[in-house]
């Protein structure tokens, strides 16, 4: 009996335990080991630092015209060369980046938020599905240009008055891009939510009294993360390029405001003589998108427990 009870105690001995750690630490651990994510992250930080802090080191003004040194190739005085008015391209790239990156990211976030919000609501609540999806159809069908024109017409002056010229235009452009690009995300998210909603763990969560809002944030959203991530990366590229489209239609920032998209657009005419004019902004946009993509990949992997640990 004593022997027996001894075994029993060994049998019942709990396995060695470790204190539970927070999920976010975990995610970070995983994230750290993800080469692509780290590379993307570092690159992204470099780009952001470059465009925001760069002007403190390279303090030539982006709009300063030096007509004698126009159309120059790379040199020590102008590492990236100059444009047709002799403006320093490096300075313009940095100034342009500051605008493009912030427009790209905010507009993407806005579109993502709107898209996921509408998508989740439509997928989750049967009653909202019809109206919300018809709304999405409506937005998809609206011609972009007139819509933007109307937005400019209605809101430019009030926003300028309320937030000042730059801020006002920034808000306007970001919302214009955000409002016109959330629809694909919404539809994709909705599709996934429709399928997810029928999974048994959703039923189980409901049975333990999870409210709809918690059900969405805790159970549904984490499981639709990957299409959202993809939308995010694609969205940033779209936003940067749409911004340039807005500027060359005359709907964007004032003309003396460089952005990557506009630099690229202006550079295209000079593609053959001065290829670096397109290479710099093209490269910058691509690198930003790539870095965000890798970040997104890493984040998604880090958040997916099945992949984590491998």
């Amino acid at each position: 009996m004593t022997e027996l009870s001894k075994t029993q105690t060994t049998l019942n001995q709990p396995e060695p335990t470790k204190p539970p750690r927070s999920q976010w630490l975990d995610v970070w651990d995983q994230f750290k080991t993800h080469k692509g994510a780290m590379m993307g992250g570092v690159l992204f930080i470099l780009i952001v630092a470059g465009v925001y802090l760069g002007p403190f080191i390279w303090d030539i003004d982006a709009t300063q015209i030096d007509i004698r040194s126009r159309n120059q190739g790379p040199s020590w005085a102008h590492p990236f060369g100059t444009d047709q008015l002799g403006r320093d391209l490096l300075a313009r790239m940095m100034a342009g980046g500051a605008t493009s990156v912030s427009v790209g990211i905010t507009a993407m976030l806005l579109a993502l938020f709107l898209g996921s919000f509408v998508g989740v609501l439509a997928g989750f609540f049967k009653r909202l599905d019809g109206p919300l999806m018809r709304l999405t159809d409506l937005f998809l069908a609206l011609p972009l240009l007139p819509l933007l024109l109307v937005m400019m017409l209605l809101f430019r002056e009030p926003l300028n008055a309320a937030f000042g010229l730059e801020q006002g235009i920034f808000i306007l452009i970001v919302s214009a891009i955000g409002i016109t690009s959330w629809m694909p995300t919404a539809r994709i998210v909705r599709g996934d939510v429709l399928a997810l909603k029928e999974r048994e763990f959703v039923l189980a969560a409901r049975s333990i009294g999870t409210t709809n809002s918690k059900l969405i944030t805790r159970h549904i959203l984490p499981n639709v993360l990957s299409p959202i991530m993809v939308s995010a990366t694609l969205g940033i590229a779209t936003a940067i390029i749409t911004e340039s489209a807005l500027s060359f239609l005359g709907l964007g920032f004032p003309p003396d405001f460089p952005t990557w998209g506009r630099l690229l657009f202006d550079g295209v005419d000079y593609l053959q003589q001065y290829p670096e004019r397109v290479i710099w902004p093209g490269l910058a946009i691509s690198l930003t998108v790539l870095s965000v993509n890798y970040l997104g990949d890493g984040l998604r992997d880090a958040l997916d427990p099945r992949i984590r640990g491998r």
Binding site: T63, L85, L249, G250, P254, P255, D269
Partner: protein, 546 residues
């Protein structure tokens, strides 16, 4: 020999929408139809009238124009046939006038028929146009690319409100010109074939024409000068470097010609401040706080380096000008010179006028109002470069500039609901280009008359964009309308030009030419800025040896 040279490819980066020039004012449409339709007389490359469907140009001296200047008589050349083989008669000419002057037709060329009282056809070969008052320049109707003759038989049922229903007619007008339409794809491409019944049996040299539209100027230039896919490209508004680079492609040559087109900065004579109540902004109720001050606008003009603007923006397709009407040569005033930039002089001018920077923010004030201007223009690469440069120069004389660029279709669209149209002019200065058709500047100069200013009452319509108002100007213009003598007319025109510039209605910047390009193998091209560029397409031919 007719039809011996195969196909000629023309590219217009704006695509023609319709081949009836009376229903569209667009140059592209006019040019595309000029291949088919002809007026009685045209301007040549020097701005002189040459007869096309008539025997000669009627003048007072040859008796074609009545002494009291109210009548002009055209004699149609014999043997002219429509492309369907029927004879061209004076009835067609009269019909054209009726067609355009129909009150419900919405004819785009109505100004051509300004003052026309009647069009009579004493016989098949004679057309008599009577004006309601003496008209010193009676060559409006039936002259130039904008006013060609339509075939009565074809358009008879398309008058007035019915005009838009006549799709077949509008897309395939029968003409007397060297080519006939074989296929018209609106806003895309037109193919033409040589007109079997063209009056000159040896022309046109080409059997067919392909007239492609769409894309952008760069691509058009490239297609002619670099890849050689096309023979003729229209209106290459491109940076000089780009043109030069394309020329290196060796397949084509750019050609330039100068009409009266001027890129200018309009100075708002009224106050555009957003603080004013809607309806009073940019109206004569509130004069501009500083732009009417000669010191200010003269300094602004002095600070501009026009040769540099030309070099950067237009190259061989531009020239420095200080005038509103730089062409034809007779009306080009020589009062001003402005081809050197003088920042110091400009600063001195302002200092002397007591407009100085009182609060040390780098911006001068006049009577406490800082010299801050909003500078708007349409969206276009060259204009944005100009904006940047001028902003920079003005900043050197203590004027702060806020730049704004507006989508061309909004800027030039007359929507009274939009705050961004050039007519509404909710800015201090704005830049665009304007010109006139033909060689007579009378009505163009009328754009400076006080009551042509856009106002809320006129739905913001009106050509006096800067709201210029000068009694002397108005009186002088009235005199112009009464004057017949050419030299006297030219003198008044120069004087009007000077008043406008002197009093700060505008700052002329660049006299812009038109730059087109043709393939090296294409012969016979004569660039004509006074008429349609296609005016002599009958003479185009493939150069031998290529």
């Amino acid at each position: 020999e007719r039809g011996s040279d195969g196909n000629v490819n023309i590219i217009y980066w704006q695509a023609p929408s319709i081949l009836n020039p009376f229903l569209s004012g667009g140059t592209k449409d006019g040019d595309a139809s000029a291949i088919i339709l002809e007026p009685l007389a045209r301007y040549n490359q020097d701005g002189e009238l040459v007869p096309f469907l008539t025997t000669e140009i009627p003048t007072v001296s040859n008796g074609g124009v009545s002494e009291d200047l109210t009548q002009i008589t055209w004699k149609i050349a014999p043997g002219i046939k429509w492309s369907d083989g029927s004879a061209f008669t004076s009835a067609d000419v009269k019909f054209t006038a009726d067609y355009c002057m129909h009150p419900e037709g919405g004819c785009a060329q109505l100004t051509k028929f300004d003052g026309v009282q009647s069009v009579e056809t004493p016989d098949d070969m004679t057309v008599v146009v009577t004006f309601d008052k003496p008209t010193p320049f009676p060559y409006g109707p039936f002259v130039g690319g904008e006013s060609p003759i339509l075939q009565k038989a074809q358009f008879e049922n398309c008058m007035g409100a019915k005009a838009p229903e006549c799709t077949t007619e509008n897309f395939g007008p029968i003409g007397t010109g060297p080519f006939v339409v074989t296929e018209f794809k609106p806003n895309d491409v037109i193919t033409y074939a040589a007109n079997e019944n063209y009056r000159d049996p040896n022309k046109p040299a080409f059997a067919t024409v392909t007239f492609k539209g769409g894309g952008d100027a760069t691509a058009a230039g490239r297609a002619v000068m670099e890849t050689g896919e096309f023979d003729y490209a229209w209106n290459l508004q491109l940076a000089p470097e780009v043109i030069a680079q394309m020329q290196e492609g060796g397949k084509g040559t750019p050609i330039a010609g100068f009409g009266p087109l001027v890129e200018r900065i309009m100075l708002n004579q009224t106050n555009p401040s957003p603080d004013l109540p809607e309806g009073e902004r940019s109206t004569a109720k509130h004069p501009h706080p500083f732009l009417q001050d000669p010191a200010v606008y003269k300094a602004m003009s002095l600070a501009i380096d026009r040769p540099l603007l030309v070099e950067i923006g237009y190259g061989q397709a531009g020239a420095v000008t200080c005038n509103w009407v730089p062409a034809p040569a007779a009306v080009n005033s020589s009062t001003f010179s402005c081809d050197t930039q003088d920042i110091a002089g400009a600063n001195k001018l302002l200092d002397d006028a007591g407009i100085v920077d009182t609060n040390g923010d780098g911006v001068r004030e006049k009577d406490g109002v800082p010299l801050k201007v909003v500078y708007q223009t349409s969206t276009n690469a060259v204009r944005q470069d100009f904006q940047a440069l001028i902003k920079e120069w003005w900043s050197q004389i203590g004027i702060e500039t806020e730049l704004r660029n507006i989508n061309a279709s909004v800027f030039f669209g007359g929507d009274p609901g939009s705050p961004d149209t050039f007519q509404k002019f909710y800015a201090d200065v704005e830049m665009y280009a304007n010109t006139f058709n033909g060689t007579d500047p009378q009505s163009y100069l009328g754009n400076g008359i006080c009551d042509k200013a856009p106002r809320p009452e006129s739905q913001w319509q009106g050509e006096n964009i800067s709201r210029f108002c000068n009694e002397e100007f108005d009186a002088l213009h009235a005199e112009l309308t009464q004057t017949a003598d050419a030299d006297k007319r030219a003198e008044i025109a120069r004087r009007l030009n000077d008043i406008m510039v002197e009093n700060g209605g505008m700052i002329p910047l660049v006299h812009r030419g038109r730059l087109s390009a043709h393939a090296n193998t294409l012969g016979g091209v004569v660039l004509n800025v006074w008429d349609s560029e296609m005016w002599n397409i009958a003479d185009w031919h493939r150069k031998t040896g290529s």
